[in-house]
Amino acid sequence: MSRNEIIFENVSVNFGEKQVLKDLNLTIKQGEVIGIMGASGIGKTTFAKVLLGLLKPSTGKVVGLENKKFSAVFQEDRLCEGFDAITNVKMVLPTDIGTEQVEKEFSKVHLTDYKGKSVSKLSGGMKRRVAIVRAVMRKSDVIILDEPLKGLDEILKEQVISYLKESLSGRTVILVTHDKSDLEALHAKLLFLS
């Protein structure tokens, strides 16, 4: 096993009597882009939560999570609604990263007209882009993108995909999606949960 790999060994997750993941064996190499697909409720988000350390497997184990930094775009935006977009990004970054740097990243995803407004006043698509920039700007080894393009129109989708491609090289990316074209756009290796 390489030091940078993450290995799922016979991982199962049960919620009461319902088994969501069953005997999952998987090796994720450093820098790999893996796309997770599968029907709704099959366990895609559960898989992401196990990877993030937010959920312990009922049986089996995940090796290689120690000393790894994570960031994520959650299925819900999970922004602090009372604060503005810049604060929402800066709150997860080291103090030496300035407002200008965050603004520069926002411009890359064509996010405008956000200044002086709490994120609760932004549209769904704007909030999504704030969540994406927050996850990207955090220097992490592994980034989990759970339906990152949800709520974006076609033009914005393309812009965000090129932003992700440019910003995530070298990082391990786990992309959870329903849309196969997202996987193709990010050259992700498909993992189909059934």
């Binding site: 993030l52 350390g53 999970r78 602090c80 009372g82 800066k90 709150m91 997860v92 955090r138």
Partner: protein, 259 residues
């Protein structure tokens, strides 16, 4: 602009309501026509105007104000600390909750009489206002902390946010509405119970002592005047504390990411 108009309109309406009550009070005093049973608003104002030139008036006000405020501040600090302990430990939560329920259900008068066995009369209002406010702060702050968004807390865990940042960006916004409402209710309670304690314990140079003496000698105008003074101080104190909390919250959330 629309908001400003609405605010001005609201103020006019509340001033009108106050004026109407004053008129009703004046009419009642004319109808009852007894200086022992009721004092008129005009008599109360003239009595207050006389009282403010007496040294004992200011002594009583400052002494009661300091003691009741001290009780309130101690209750806020203790209530916040206990609620944080309860949030982190199930046993502590049960332990404190039982105590708070008991404190809440004991009548103020019973507390005052019991407390007279334990503390001197001059410190009674500190203890009583403390005990009356403590459960309100504890219960509300605990509810506020428990209402913090679990999904945001998960996000904070994933991004390894520091404890200070979690407090500032997730816990404080969740707790503040509960805290402000607890302070608002608690301030009213601490004044009512603090003065009641003084009326029973009769510490020297206190509003309670002045009220008791006015009652003893059937000085109805003075009784009404002191009651109006208590309401006035209570309202000013509440406004000041709520303004302070607002400023503190604003300063904490505005000052960006310095820690």
């Amino acid at each position: 602009m629309k908001h400003l108009k609405k605010d001005v309109h609201k103020r006019y309406v509340s001033l009108l309501a106050i004026a109407l009550w004053l008129i009703l009070w004046q009419v009642a005093s004319i109808v009852i026509n007894s200086n022992i049973l009721i004092a008129s608003p005009i008599q109360v104002v003239t009595t207050i105007a006389k009282l403010i030139f007496e040294k004992s008036f200011w002594f009583s006000i400052s002494s009661s104000f300091l003691k009741i405020s001290l009780g309130f501040i101690l209750a806020v600090v203790t209530g916040v600390l206990l609620s944080l302990g309860a949030y982190h430990n199930v046993f502590l939560k049960e332990f404190f909750t039982v105590a708070m329920r008991v404190i809440k259900s004991i009548p103020v008068a019973s507390f005052v009489i019991l407390a007279l066995l334990w503390v001197r009369a001059r410190n009674l209002s500190i203890l009583i206002s403390f005990l009356m406010v403590l459960p309100i702060i504890y219960t509300n702050v605990l509810k506020g902390v428990e209402s913090a968004d679990q999904e945001l807390l998960e996000m904070a865990e994933v991004f390894h946010m520091s404890g200070f940042r979690k407090l500032k960006f997730i816990y404080l916004p969740a707790v503040m509405p509960y805290f402000v409402s607890a302070c608002s209710v608690g301030l009213g309670f601490c004044w009512k119970s603090g003065i009641a304690a003084e009326v029973i314990g009769l510490p020297k140079n206190s509003i309670g002592e002045q009220l008791y003496e006015a009652k003893l000698y059937l000085m109805t105008k003075e009784m009404f005047a002191w009651t109006v003074v208590i309401i006035g101080i209570s309202v000013v104190f509440e406004k000041l504390i709520l303004l302070l909390i607002k400023k503190l919250n604003h300063a904490l959330t505005k000052e960006l990411l310095e820690k």
